[in-house]
C-alpha cells in the first residue's frame, strides 16, 4: 500500500503531494518536513529505502527534484522504486522532456496522470499509452 506520493525540490518545497490515507492538513506539513529531513541529504551512495516510523520511504532523485513515496511494511520497495521511474517516464512523454516548471504549471494534469496510475494506494496501471489516453482525449476536446 502506498501511503503518500510526494514531489519535492532541492529547497524542500513541495511540488506535488497526494495522500492515500486521510491526513489533516496541518499534520501533512509536519510529516513532509520530517520526511524531507530524512531524504533530502542522502547521497547517491546511500540506499534509496528508508525505514521511517512504522512505514518505509522509497525515494528517487531526478536532478533538483526528489520523489518520495511512503509505503507500508508489506509493499515491495523495488516495485515502488521502479514505479517512480515509470511515472517520470510517463510525465516525460506527456510533457516531452518534463521540467520542474511543467509540473508546477500543470499540477492538475500531473495529478490526473497519477490518478490513472495509483488508486487507493495500489498501483493500478503502468502501461504508458493507457495512462495517457484519457488525458489526451481531454486535451483534444478542450482544444476543439
Amino acid at each position: 500500500m502506498i501511503k503518500f506520493f510526494l514531489m519535492v525540490n532541492k529547497q524542500g518545497q513541495t511540488r506535488l503531494a497526494k495522500y492515500y490515507e486521510h491526513v489533516e492538513i496541518n499534520k501533512r506539513t509536519v510529516l513532509e518536513t520530517e520526511v524531507l529531513k530524512s531524504c533530502l541529504f542522502r547521497s547517491n551512495e546511500q540506499c534509496s529505502f528508508i525505514e521511517f516510523k512504522d512505514f518505509k520511504l522509497v525515494c528517487r532523485r531526478y536532478a533538483a527534484l526528489l520523489i518520495v513515496v511512503g509505503v507500508n511494511d508489506t509493499e515491495n520497495e523495488m516495485a515502488i522504486y521502479e514505479f517512480i521511474h515509470n511515472f517520470v517516464e510517463v510525465l516525460d512523454e506527456y510533457f516531452s522532456r518534463v521540467t520542474e516548471l511543467d509540473i508546477m504549471f500543470n499540477l492538475d494534469k500531473v495529478h490526473i496522470i497519477l490518478d490513472e496510475m495509483v488508486l487507493n494506494g495500489c498501483i493500478v496501471e503502468t502501461n504508458r499509452a493507457r495512462i495517457l489516453a484519457p488525458l489526451l482525449i481531454l486535451d483534444k476536446m478542450s482544444e476543439s
Binding site: 513541495t14 546511500q46 521540467t99 504508458r128 476536446m141
Partner: protein, 1098 residues
C-alpha cells in the same frame, strides 16, 4: 531517458530566468500573465516561510472573493481550483473552496469537470459531509453517453465515495462490467474494489462477476480484478484455492511474454503485474504443499527470467530471508556482508546487523554482539536503540560464552538502552540471576561477578547510569552482596547512601535502593550509615521514602525478626504469611468494644463523603478517584505510620516483607500476575517464510554478490585480510557440520541459561497473594473487619469459581426479565437484520415466491415449536433471513442461553429437489469460540423441508461490534455445488446475562474489582426518573437490579462465561451518573458504550 530529465531539470533556473515558454506540445501553456502563473512565480521566488505565509494568505483572500463572485466563469473557476490545490498543498486551509469544487464537477465541461473531481478527491476525506452532494453528479455522469465523463465518474468513485450511498451507484457500475471499452470495464472493477474495501458486504453478491473480470480478454481488466482477489484471498485463502490454476496460467503468459508489448517495462513483461500475481500465489501456497506444487514450474520460470536490478539493502533483506532457511548460504557472501557492515549508510548497516543477528551462534556471538554494540553507541534514534538492545539481550542470554562476558554485555545494554528499553530486559535478567540454572556453583559465580562488576561501576565518579540500571544494581547488590564474604556491607552501603542522596535519582529508583539497604542491614545491623539514612529519611517529604525509613527503623529493633524476614538468597522461595491478619482479631474486638467505628474501606468513605456533599457539584471529586479504585488502598501515606504506633512488632515485620517484596517484584509481574517472557523470535518468524517476489531478486543478488566476491579476491590488500579475519570470526559455526541448530527455531536452541520453569508458577502465585497482602497492611490501622477484607481479596483470585457458584445457585433469568422478552428480542433482531435491511420479517413476502413463503412460514412455526421445546426457558430472537437464492433460504436466530449464545441457522429448501451434501460452515472469528452442535452435518435436505444447524458461541474478551460470517454449500442432483455466503452481527449484549447477587455480595465484589469507568450521560426528561431508567437498563442490557436506594441503583451482570460487571448509578436531575466496575479491564468501557447507545436510543 532519465539523463534527459536530469538535464532539463538542471537547466530549469536558466530557462526560468529567460522567462520563455518551455516544454513541448502539451507543455507550459499557461502564460505568465495568468493568475496561476503569478502564483507559481510567487512561489518559486519565495525565500522564507514568512514570505510564503504572506503570499498564500493574500492568494487565499483573492480566491475567496473570486470563487463566490457571480461573474466568475467556469473556466476561471477551474483555474481557481488549481490555485486552491496549491494552497492546500503548502499546508494552508482552503475549505471555503470545497463546495465550489463540487459545483465545478457538476457544471463544468470536460476538463473543468475533471479538475472539479480532482479537487474533490484532494480536498475531501471519506467521511466529509459535503461528499454527499457529489453523489447526484456521479450518478448523472455514470449514465452519460460521453465515455470521458463515465471514466471520470468511475475514477472518483474508486477514489472517494460515501459508503452509505453505494446502493445508489452499484447497479450502474455493475452494468459497466459488460461495457465494450476496456477502460470502462477496468475502472468499473476498480470502483468495485473500492466498495470491497469500504463495505465488503455490499459487493458479496457480485463475486461471480469478479471471476468474469479475472477472465476478461483484456489484460488491464484482469489486472484490476487482481486487487480484489488479493484482498479476498488474504482474508480467506482456503476459499480460493480453486483459482490457483488460473493465476498460474496468467503468470505463465505474462512471464512468457504473451502480453502486448506496451505492457513491457524496460523489456520486462509487466513487472508489477508479476509481483501482484506472485503475492497472490504466495498467499494461496502458504502452508499448503499441494497448492504450492502447482506453482513451482512458473516460479522457476519467473526467477529465471527476472532481471530486476537491485539495491544493496534489498539484497541483504533477501539474503536474510534465505538465511533463515539455510545459514550456510551466508558463507558464500561473507565479504559482501563485511563490506556492508562498514557501509557509510546506517540503514544498510542496520540491515546487515539484522542478518548477523540471524546467523548468531555460540561461536560467533562475541564478535556479532560487539558489532551491534558499536552500532548502538552511534545511533541516537530511540526506535533503533530499543530494537537493537532487545536483540543483544536475547542473544546474550542464549549464547553467552561465559559469566564475565554476559554481565559486561548486559551492563552495556543497560547503560545504553537505559530507560527506553523494554522492561522485560531488566526483569528477565534479574529473574535469571535469582532462579539460577542447573549448576549451583555456576549460579553463584555469575551472581558474584555481577556484584563485583556493579561495585566497580559505582566506584567511577561522575557517571550517570540510567534509572533502570541503578534499579538492577540495587537489587543485585541487596540480594547477593553476601557472596563477597565481607564482614560488613559498610562499603556498599556507603555507595547506596550516596546514590540515595543524589538529586538526579528518581524516587522509584530510591525505593529500590532503600530496599537494598534494608536487605543489607539485616546482614550487619550496626552501621552508622544506616543510622544516618534513617535520620535523613524519616523526615523526608517523600511519603514513600519516609515509610521505608520507618520500617527500617523498626526492623532494626528486632534483629531476629529481621533475619527471618529477609533471609539470604531466598528471593525465589515462597514465604508463609498469615494473610488474614487473624492475630489482630483480639485488638480489633477490643477496640470495637470500646466504641471504635468499624472499618470502612477507603472509597466507601469517599463515597459517603460525596453523598454528603451532594448539594455541591461533585464532579471534580468524582474524577479524582475514579481513575483507580485502588489508589486509596495502595497509598502508603499516613495510614501505615499510624499502624506503627500499635507497636506490634509482628505486624510491622509483616509489613516490611510486603513492602520489600513489592519493590523487588513489582516490575517483574504486572497486575495480572506473572507475564511470561515472550519468545523474542516469534515476531521475526512470522515474516520468515519468504514471499515469492523476494526470491526473484534473490537470485540476481546472489549472482552479483558472487561477482563482487571474485573481484575482491583479485585485489586483496592488508585491509582485506583484516576483513577476512573478521569474516572468519563472524561466520564460524555456520558450516554444514556445525552442531548449532538452525536459527529461527528458538526452542531447539540450547540456551546458555535455562530457566527452571516450576519456579515461575509458584512465584506468580506468590505475587498475587503478596499483592493482596499489601492491601491489608495499609488498612490495618483502622479498626475493621479484617475477615471480610480478606474474603474480598481472595475473592478476586477465586472470582471465577465464586461466581460460578453464585450463578448456579440462582437461575440466571429472573421472571421479571422474561416478561420483558419482546423488547429484548426487538433489540437483537434489529441487529440481526441490519446487514440486509430488506430482510426484515415484514418484507419477507416481498421477495420470496409465494409458494415458498407459505412453506417457510409453516415451517418456521414448526421449527420454532420444535426448538422452543428446548429453548422455552430461554429468550430468543426472531427468525431473520440472512441469505437466499432461488433454491434455498437461510435464516438464523439467536437463543440467549444461560451459559452461551446459541445460534441456529435454518436452511429451507424451497425447490422440489433434494439437496445433497449440504454443509454450513462458520468462518473462525477472532474473539469468538464457535462450537458446532453434534448432528449438524446433513447429507441430504429433502425437497421443501427445513433443516437446522446449531452452533454455540462463546466470547473470549469484551468487544463492541462483532461479526460472524460463513457460507453454506450444497449440491443439487447432478449439478455443481453452490456456495452462498452470509454474515450475522453479534452484539456484546448477546453475551451479557443478569448476575443475581445480594446487596452484600455486590458490596464485596465492588471492592474487589480494580477496573472502573465513570461517565455521566444526559437523558431526556422522561428517562430522568429512576424507574424508567432502571427499566431500560434491565430490559435492554439484561442487568439484574440488585437494590434501589433512594435515587441510586445497584445492578449486576456478567459477560459469559463468568466475567462479572457491576453498575452503580445515580440519577441527578437529568444526568445519569454511571459507574461500572469489573474484574476485566475492557468490559466496563464496552458496557458503557452499550449503555449510552441504549439510553440515547430510547
Amino acid at each position: 531517458m532519465s539523463d534527459i530529465v536530469e538535464k532539463t531539470l538542471t537547466a530549469l533556473p536558466g530557462l526560468f530566468l529567460q522567462n520563455q515558454s518551455v516544454g513541448g506540445p502539451a507543455g507550459v501553456k499557461a502564460s505568465f500573465s495568468s493568475r496561476l502563473g503569478g502564483l507559481v512565480r510567487g512561489i518559486t521566488a519565495l525565500t522564507s516561510k514568512h514570505e510564503e505565509e504572506k503570499l498564500i494568505q493574500q492568494e487565499l483572500s483573492n480566491l475567496k472573493a473570486t470563487v463566490s463572485a457571480p461573474a466568475t466563469t467556469l473556466k476561471m473557476m477551474k483555474e481557481c481550483m488549481v490555485r486552491l490545490i496549491y494552497c492546500e498543498m503548502l499546508g494552508y486551509d482552503a475549505s471555503f473552496g470545497y463546495i465550489h469544487a463540487i459545483k465545478l464537477a457538476q457544471q463544468g465541461n470536460l476538463l473543468e469537470k475533471r479538475v472539479g473531481y480532482l479537487a474533490v478527491s484532494l480536498f475531501l476525506h471519506e467521511n466529509h459531509e459535503l461528499l454527499l452532494l457529489l453523489v447526484n453528479t456521479v450518478v448523472k455522469d455514470l449514465q452519460s453517453t460521453n465515455l470521458v465523463e463515465v471514466c471520470m465518474a468511475l475514477t472518483i468513485v474508486s477514489q472517494i465515495f460515501p459508503r452509505e450511498m453505494i446502493p445508489a451507484v452499484l447497479p450502474l457500475i455493475e452494468d459497466k462490467l459488460q461495457h465494450s471499452k476496456e477502460i470502462i470495464r477496468r475502472k468499473a472493477v476498480l470502483a468495485l474494489y473500492k466498495f470491497h474495501l469500504i463495505a465488503p458486504n455490499q459487493v458479496q453478491h457480485i463475486h461471480i462477476k469478479f471471476r468474469k473480470a479475472l477472465c476478461d480478454r483484456d489484460v488491464g481488466v484482469m489486472a484490476a480484478s487482481l486487487h480484489i482477489y488479493f484482498r479476498m484471498i488474504k482474508e480467506n485463502p482456503s476459499g480460493y484455492k480453486d483459482l490457483t490454476g488460473s493465476f498460474v496460467t496468467i503468470l505463465k503468459q505474462v512471464v512468457g511474454g504473451k502480453l502486448p508489448v506496451d505492457f513491457n517495462y524496460h523489456s520486462v513483461p509487466a513487472p508489477w503485474l508479476q509481483i501482484q500475481l506472485l503475492r497472490i500465489l504466495g498467499l494461496l501456497g502458504k502452508d499448503d504443499q499441494r497448492t504450492s506444487e502447482l506453482m513451482y514450474d512458473v516460479l522457476d520460470e519467473s526467477l529465471r527470467r527476472a532481471e530486476l536490478n537491485h539495491n544493496v539493502t534489498y539484497g541483504l533483506k533477501a539474503l536474510t530471508y534465505v538465511i533463515q532457511q539455510d545459514p550456510t548460504l551466508a558463507l558464500q557472501h561473507q565479504m559482501t556482508i563485511i563490506e556492508c557492515l562498514d557501509h557509510p549508510d546506517p540503514i544498510i548497516k542496520r540491515e546487515t546487523l539484522e542478518l548477523l543477528y540471524r546467523i548468531t551462534n555460540a561461536q560467533n556471538i562475541t564478535v556479532i554482539v560487539q558489532k551491534m554494540l558499536e552500532y548502538l553507541h552511534q545511533s541516537k534514534e530511540e526506535y533503533i536503540i530499543v530494537n537493537l538492545v532487545g536483540k543483544i539481550a536475547e542473544l546474550a542470554e542464549k549464547y553467552a560464552p561465559d559469566n564475565a562476558w554476559f554481565i559486561q554485555t548486559m551492563n552495556a545494554v543497560f547503560s545504553v538502552g537505559g530507560d527506553v528499553m523494554h522492561p522485560d530486559i531488566p526483569n528477565n535478567f534479574m529473574r535469571l540471576l535469582a532462579e539460577g540454572f542447573d549448576d549451583e556453583t555456576e549460579d553463584q559465580q555469575l551472581r558474584l561477578y555481577a556484584v563485583q562488576s556493579y561495585l566497580t561501576l559505582l566506584d567511577v565518579e561522575n557517571v550517570f547510569y540510567p534509572q533502570k540500571f541503578l534499579q538492577v544494581m540495587s537489587w543485585v547488590l541487596g540480594e547477593y552482596y553476601y557472596l563477597l564474604d565481607k564482614d560488613t556491607p559498610e562499603e556498599v552501603l556507603t555507595k547506596l547512601y550516596k546514590l540515595l542522596m543524589n538529586a538526579s535519582v528518581s524516587s522509584e529508583t530510591k525505593a529500590w535502593l532503600i530496599a537494598a539497604v534494608t536487605k543489607l542491614t539485616s546482614q550487619a545491623h550496626s552501621s552508622n550509615i544506616v543510622e544516618r539514612l534513617i535520620q535523613e529519611f524519616t523526615i523526608s517529604l517523600d511519603t514513600c521514602m519516609r515509610q521505608h525509613a520507618f520500617e527500617l527503623k523498626h526492623l532494626r529493633e528486632n534483629v531476629e525478626l529481621m533475619k527471618s524476614l529477609l533471609p539470604v538468597d531466598k528471593s525465589c522461595e515462597d514465604m508463609v504469611v498469615d494473610a488474614s491478619l487473624s492475630f489482630l482479631d483480639g485488638f480489633v474486638a477490643e477496640e470495637l468494644s470500646q466504641g471504635a467505628a468499624p472499618y470502612k474501606p477507603h472509597h466507601q468513605r469517599q463515597e459517603e463523603k460525596l453523598s454528603q456533599e451532594k448539594v455541591l457539584n461533585f464532579e471534580p471529586y468524582g474524577l479524582s478517584f475514579s481513575s483507580s479504585g485502588f489508589t486509596g488502598r495502595q497509598s502508603p501515606a499516613g495510614i501505615s505510620l499510624g499502624s506503627d504506633i500499635s507497636g506490634n512488632s509482628a505486624e510491622t515485620g509483616l509489613k516490611e516483607t510486603n513492602g520489600l517484596k513489592l519493590e523487588g517484584i513489582k516490575k517483574l509481574w504486572g497486575k495480572e500476575g506473572y507475564l511470561p517472557k515472550k519468545e523474542g523470535k516469534t515476531g521475526d518468524e512470522t515474516e520468515a517464510p519468504p514471499v515469492p517476489q523476494e526470491s526473484i531478486i534473490m537470485e540476481t543478488v546472489d549472482q552479483t554478490l558472487i561477482k563482487k566476491d571474485q573481484c575482491q579476491v583479485l585485489t586483496q590488500s592488508k585491509e582485506e585480510k583484516e576483513k577476512q579475519l573478521l569474516a572468519s570470526s563472524l561466520f564460524v559455526g555456520l558450516g554444514s557440520e556445525s552442531t548449532v541448530n538452525l536459527l529461527g527455531k528458538a526452542d531447539t536452541v540450547s540456551h546458555k541459561f535455562r530457566r527452571k520453569s516450576k519456579i515461575k508458577e509458584t512465584k506468580s502465585g506468590e505475587t498475587t497473594s503478596a499483592h493482596n497482602r499489601t492491601c491489608f497492611h495499609f488498612s490495618s490501622s483502622s479498626n475493621a473487619t479484617y475477615e471480610d477484607d480478606y474474603y474480598l481479596d481472595t475473592l478476586q483470585d477465586r472470582g471465577d469459581k465464586e461466581l460460578n457458584k453464585l450463578s448456579l445457585n440462582s437461575g440466571l433469568l429472573d421472571s421479571e426479565s422474561l416478561t420483558e422478552l419482546p423488547s429484548v428480542e426487538k433489540l437483537s433482531s434489529c441487529k440481526l437484520s441490519s446487514s440486509p435491511s430488506l430482510f426484515t420479517d415484514n418484507s419477507m413476502e416481498g421477495f420470496q415466491p409465494s409458494q415458498s413463503t407459505a412453506l417457510s412460514v409453516a415451517n418456521e412455526t414448526s421449527l420454532a415449536a420444535s426448538l422452543l421445546e428446548e429453548t422455552s426457558e430461554h429468550m430468543h430472537s426472531d427468525l431473520v433471513e440472512v441469505c437466499h437464492n432461488e433454491t434455498i433460504s437461510l435464516s438464523s436466530f439467536k437463543i440467549w442461553k444461560d451459559d452461551c449464545l446459541f445460534m441456529v441457522w435454518s436452511v429451507s429448501n424451497k425447490s422440489g429437489l433434494e439437496l445433497e451434501s449440504a454443509d454450513l460452515e462458520i468462518a473462525p472469528a477472532e474473539n469468538f469460540k464457535i462450537t458446532e452442535q453434534p448432528g449438524c452435518r446433513l447429507p441430504i435436505i429433502e425437497a421443501e423441508s427445513i433443516k437446522t444447524f446449531q452452533y454455540s458461541v462463546q466470547v473470549e474478551k469484551p468487544f463492541t461490534e462483532g461479526n460472524l460470517s460463513g457460507f453454506i454449500n450444497y449440491q443439487m442432483m447432478d449439478t455443481h455445488s453452490v456456495q452462498l455466503e452470509f454474515s450475522v452481527n453479534l452484539s456484546l449484549l448477546d453475551f451479557i446475562r443478569p448476575l443475581k447477587i445480594s446487596t452484600e455480595n455486590f458490596g464485596k465484589l465492588w471492592l474487589s474489582f480494580a477496573n472502573d469507568v465513570k461517565q455521566n450521560i444526559k437523558v431526556s426528561e422522561s428517562q430522568a426518573a429512576l424507574p424508567s431508567a432502571l427499566k431500560t437498563l434491565q430490559q435492554k442490557l439484561r442487568l439484574h437490579v440488585v437494590e434501589i436506594i433512594g435515587n441510586e441503583g445497584l445492578l449486576a451482570c456478567q459477560l459469559l462465561p463468568s466475567i462479572p460487571c457491576l453498575l452503580h448509578f445515580r440519577v441527578h436531575g437529568d444526568v445519569l451518573a454511571l459507574w461500572f466496575r469489573s474484574s476485566c479491564s475492557t468490559l466496563p468501557d464496552c458496557l458503557l458504550y452499550q449503555c449510552q447507545k441504549v439510553m440515547e436510543g430510547s
